[in-house]
């Protein structure tokens, strides 16, 4: 399983990378962390004419906090995110989700930009971007534009990125202090992609809920924002009955696939179960300390 031949470029700036993409007319692929792309190359499922390696552009990796937003350069490593004090304080849901991303050696190389651009709906970052209302900055030959999560993810492994565009930054509104949060995931083994995953953020106090955010992994071609379930909590508060109702509603909002690992019915069931578990954990954290350890899979 060796990669096929390709031209290789490692430009020092984003603009040169874009120029290369344009030059190859859609036949070049961007190499970020390589944890998803290189397996495809090794299986020869991907045969690009060229690889444009982004790893020699140091300006693409950063974690910054300003004006209520956390901005991450697209080439920021998942490992950096996992241990970043800024992320743990301001985006604890992202830090918790990161612990589910593969294994530590994968996170050494994997990047947030790469993960979002790859758009595997069973991955953790697209779901977290969706739940937190994040957006990405994309640069191309005609300049920059911003895409919301819902605009970015179009289908399984497909995004709105043009062939000559590069995702350069990921922005999240900082989570309000004291927000409850949980990333709940069920997979067959530790570190696998989610069969079903739920990202939850709850802003509230006591039994009242100001805002609920729920997004899925693994139940469709893109992450699903469970607005119908969120509305139940925002309307009825954080009672056990409301949690149950929201969880049941969540299962009706998804149309999951069947594959060798899980049937559609089972995924629907897990959507209900994990939504309930995520909500209970998130609610228990409201007003509490940041970034507790995530629960294990299975």
């Amino acid at each position: 399983m060796k990669p096929p031949k390709f031209d290789y470029h490692a430009p020092p700036t984003v603009d040169e990378a874009i120029a290369l993409l344009t030059r190859y007319g859609g036949e070049a692929k961007l190499l970020a962390g390589g944890q998803s792309l290189v397996p495809l190359l090794n299986f020869r499922l991907s045969r690009p004419a060229a690889l444009v390696d982004l790893n020699r552009i140091p300006s693409l990796a950063y974690v910054r906090e300003a004006d209520g937003y956390v901005r991450l350069g697209a080439m920021t490593r998942q490992r950096t995110i996992e241990f970043s004090p800024v992320v743990r304080r301001r985006l604890p849901l992202l830090a918790e989700a990161t612990a589910f991303v593969g294994h530590l050696p994968i996170r050494t190389r994997g990047t947030i930009g790469g993960s979002l651009a790859h758009a595997d709906p069973a991955a953790e970052y697209p779901t977290t971007l969706t739940a937190l209302g994040g957006e990405v900055v994309v640069r191309g030959p005609r300049g920059e534009r911003t895409l919301q999560a819902g605009e970015l993810f179009q289908s399984y492994l497909a995004t709105a990125l043009g062939a000559d565009e590069i995702l350069v930054e990921v922005r999240f509104p900082a989570m309000p202090d004291g927000a409850g949060f949980a990333f709940e995931e069920f997979s067959r083994r530790h570190g696998d992609f989610a069969i079903v995953g739920i990202a939850a953020m709850i802003i509230g106090q006591g039994l009242s809920c100001t805002a609920a955010r729920l997004a899925t992994a693994g139940v469709g071609p893109s992450p699903v924002r469970l607005r119908g379930a969120e509305e139940i909590l925002e309307r009825e508060g954080l009672t056990e009955a409301a949690i149950e109702a929201a969880a049941r509603r969540a299962a009706t909002l998804v149309d999951p696939p069947s594959d060798i690992h899980a049937s559609a019915d089972y995924r629907r069931n897990l959507t209900r179960v994990l939504t309930g578990r995520a909500l209970r954990r998130a609610i228990a954290r409201i007003g509490g300390p940041e970034c507790p350890t995530p629960s294990s899979s299975g």
């Binding site: 069920f186 089972y266 069931n269």
Partner: protein, 819 residues
């Protein structure tokens, strides 16, 4: 780094039975192992890439390698046409005319079957050229289900055979029909056992060279036996056996039986080397391994049990459909017949009917895999015992106790010809029950059930066969066929060891057992140290297989858990022979009768303790430097070779009885699980296992084998399956979909031993390598069935993925809701 024994030098206590740390670790921990792809044995090695069929079933109409041959670095391409022209098909273990070559020739019969080989300067270039080889196919309908393959009108894979049945035997022992007619209770069940394999982290590796002047092949590889495959391969390549040399890499990265089946690739790469005129290396990649290496069979089994009201089993019926894939590749149908001697397991019943069909479908090929046929056998039998327990209202432990063979019955001849050499099954079961705190678990279960939790306890017992007798394979053939004068019977299980002492007194043991991580060097050093009164540090062990220069027989190799039994026996006997020589020599030097002397702490001296003593070093120096000092008739040089064979290894008789293995251990285990009612995730709460493998030479290594074997069993029970769609496409062709358990999924195990030494081996040891791989599917299926009993769900199929289990639970709940 010297190996460090667990405790300081002792004299009489001995090294056998001590957890001596491993000699092998030094090189393996520092990246200095010698795996087949590490150190090129010769120059100018080129790389092969194999072109494989994308179709599960297709006629091959033609090849066009012209584009490939023009590409950078390519030296040659061979196709199935060359293979058909230049090689013979492999012998198969049945009489059906199945023509199995090392590539597809007329048809491809499974996705991934090799159809051509490209050789280039390196693997990257070879894969580039392999992409450019064009093969014209006429796709044919495929069949993958073992029962669908028997339907009239099913696609037939081998026209010459006329059906997809490679072999069928009906074996009758005792009077099963009468037993069933007289029974109070008859229970029937259908089981499905999945296709999975042990997937060692190191894949197949072959380097081949053809010497045109000698007319000889040399093949370096990580093949580990049985070496019956050597003459088989020589015949295929059309060379005399002494013109085919197998050299085995000193380090093999795991096998678990899977590398037994790589010999067709050895033939293929050897042929490729000959045709292209350069040495050729092929290192299998992981995708190829999942696609086209080896696995156990998937099986559909129909079981019947006949019993009395008190739970005594009178007889059983087994009807098996074993799916061997596109061809029946030797040593299949071991998938059915390997455990024939222990078909009845640890139970006393005398009446058995076995109706076994070996079926070919468009899946990859099968062969030995850890637990070989016993994982299947005990899953079915132990589930039936639990169903019986449920029917007669007995605890599952109690129903087994009532049927167990008793210690006074040993050595025990089973109805099918097996000879269980030793054992105390009730004691082992009692120990497992105690180790698991079974009574406490049942109390916990009562409380858990009251709280609505799904808490279950499973039990499984197994007779653990080790050292296969080569003769068992012939049971696949009709007795009338075997009675023909041209038919040569087969039997045997043999191993050899040589121990020599160099002029400076250093002891070296030489074997050719092809270990793949079982610590043979360490174990051998312990045995030799014990016999010769040395420490393991004093003993050098060389374990390297080369069919040209080492002693070997067709049963040689490390598979079927044989080293612990036959390998260690050869070592012990060689050491004793050498010791006898040393005593005889010292007696001559002292001018005393040998009976007055003893060998102790590395020296020979008078039993009375007075007088001179001669250390091994003293004797070695004299023997080498002054051969005149040797007694008359003694060979110069201090060395001894022993070849150990089991006399209980006989050919199958006309009643289809054969002692298929030589030593038989026993396993009793108990597992407690809890099933999450919402996600159907299974949590193992306790897992206790008791093993009787006779004398344990290194308990640390034994424990490692049990842990490893258990996880292989757990993999097949919960995570691993080679899944195909109806068109024969493999759906689990990567490690993302074929799920090997990680450290998180691995359970902690409470382990205890019972020791019933074998009367057949000098040390009393038996094999232990497969161990719980054969019982974990049974014990966890029983535990989960027990957990789900309140809902009325019984497990008859593996693997138990959360999704499948949830569907069963949900289905049962819905039916209950409707009722």
């Amino acid at each position: 780094m010297p190996p460090s024994p667990a405790s300081p030098v002792a004299d009489a206590k001995g090294w056998i039975g001590r957890p001596v740390k491993r000699i092998e670790d030094a090189r393996l921990l520092t990246g200095r192992g010698s795996f087949v792809d590490d150190h090129p044995p010769i120059a100018n090695i080129h790389a092969a890439a194999i072109v494989r069929s994308p179709h599960a079933h297709a006629r091959i109409l033609g090849y066009d390698a012209s584009a490939a041959l023009r590409m950078d670095g390519v030296v040659g391409v061979i196709t199935g046409a060359d293979v058909a022209r230049l090689t013979r098909p492999f012998s198969v273990g049945v009489t059906a005319p199945v023509h199995y070559y090392c590539t597809a020739t007329d048809k491809a019969r499974f996705v991934g079957e090799p159809v051509a080989v490209v050789v280039a300067r390196n693997r990257y270039l070879a894969e580039d050229a392999a992409d450019a080889v064009a093969v014209e196919y006429e796709p044919l309908p495929a069949v993958v289900d073992v029962e669908r393959a028997l339907d009239p009108g099913a696609p037939v894979l081998h026209e010459a055979v006329g059906s997809n049945v490679a072999g069928h035997r009906r074996l009758v022992y005792g009077e099963p029909d009468r037993a069933f007619a007289e029974a109070d209770i008859v229970i029937r069940e259908r089981f499905r056992f999945p296709k999975y394999g042990s997937t060692p982290i190191e894949t197949y590796g072959v380097i081949a060279r053809w010497d045109p002047l000698e007319g000889a092949y040399t093949i370096w590889s990580n093949f580990m036996g049985p070496f019956i495959m050597h003459p088989l391969t020589a015949r295929v390549l059309g060379v005399p056996e002494n013109k085919l040399r197998f050299i085995v890499a000193p380090d093999i990265g795991g096998s678990f039986g899977i590398k037994s089946s790589m010999y067709p690739y050895m033939a293929l790469i050897a042929l490729t080397a000959r045709c292209t005129g350069v040495p050729v290396k092929w290192i299998e990649d992981r995708h190829e391994h999942l696609l086209a290496s080896s696995s156990g069979t998937d099986r559909v089994a129909y079981r019947e049990i006949a019993a009395r009201e008190d739970g005594t089993v009178l007889g059983m019926r087994y009807r098996w459909l074993d799916n061997v894939g596109g061809y029946i590749r030797s040593p299949e149908p071991g998938c059915s017949f390997r455990p024939i001697g222990n078909f009845v397991g640890p139970y006393r019943f005398q009446h058995l009917e076995v109706d076994t069909s070996v079926v070919m479908t468009n899946k990859s090929l099968t062969g030995p895999n850890r637990g070989y046929a016993c994982g299947h056998l005990y899953f079915e039998t132990e589930r039936m015992m639990d169903l019986l327990a449920e029917r007669v209202g007995l605890d599952p432990v109690e129903v087994r106790r009532r049927n167990l063979l008793q210690p006074e019955q040993f050595p025990y001849r089973t109805p099918t010809g097996g000879l269980y050499d030793s054992g105390d099954y009730p004691a082992a079961l009692d120990k497992a029950v105690e180790l698991a705190r079974y009574a406490e678990l049942r109390r916990e279960q009562t409380a858990a059930r009251a709280a609505g939790r799904l808490f279950g306890i499973g039990v499984a017992l197994a007779v653990d066969p080790s050292v296969s007798n080569m003769g068992y394979v012939a049971t696949a053939l009709d007795p009338q066929f075997r009675a023909k004068p041209e038919y040569l019977p087969k039997s045997g299980a043999v191993d050899a060891a040589t121990i020599k002492v160099d002029p400076a007194g250093r002891v070296t043991a030489i074997l050719a057992t092809t270990p793949q991580g079982q610590g043979h060097q360490t174990v051998v050093s312990q045995i030799v140290a014990d016999e010769l009164g040395l420490t393991p540090d004093d003993v050098t062990v060389v374990d390297e297989m080369d069919t040209l220069s080492r002693f070997w027989s067709i049963s040689s190799g490390t598979y079927s858990s044989r080293f612990g039994s036959v390998g260690t026996s050869a070592v012990a006997l060689a050491a004793r022979k050498l010791k006898g020589k040393l005593v005889e020599y010292a007696a001559h030097l002292m001018d005393r009768p040998a009976e007055q002397l003893e060998f102790r702490a590395g020296s020979v001296r008078l039993r009375s303790g007075t007088g001179p003593s001669y250390s091994i070093k003293d004797l070695a120096g004299r023997a080498h430097w002054n051969t005149e000092s040797l007694p008359e008739g003694m060979e110069p040089g201090l060395q001894a070779t022993a070849v150990f064979g089991f006399t209980v290894s006989k050919a199958v008789d006309e009643n289809d009885c054969v002692n298929s293995s030589n030593t038989y251990g026993f396993i009793a285990e108990v597992m407690a699980v809890e099933v999450d009612p919402e996600t159907a995730a299974i949590k193992i709460l306790r897992y206790a296992t008791v093993h009787d493998a006779g004398t344990i030479i290194n308990p640390m290594i034994a424990e490692g084998q049990i842990y490893g074997g258990a996880l292989h069993g757990l993999g097949g029970a919960l995570y691993e399956e080679l899944q195909y769609d109806e068109g024969g496409q493999l759906l689990t062709g990567t490690f993302m979909d074929y799920l090997v358990p990680t450290a998180v999924e691995a359970p902690v195990i409470d382990i205890a031993h019972v020791v019933s030494p074998s009367p057949l081996t000098p040390l009393g040891s038996k094999g232990l390598g497969e161990s719980s791989s054969m019982t974990v599917p049974a014990v966890i299926a029983n535990a989960v069935s027990d957990a789900l009993a309140p809902i009325g769900v019984r497990i008859s199929e593996l693997p138990m993925s959360p999704s499948r289990l949830w569907e069963l639970i949900d289905g049962a709940r819905k039916s209950a809701g409707k009722a």
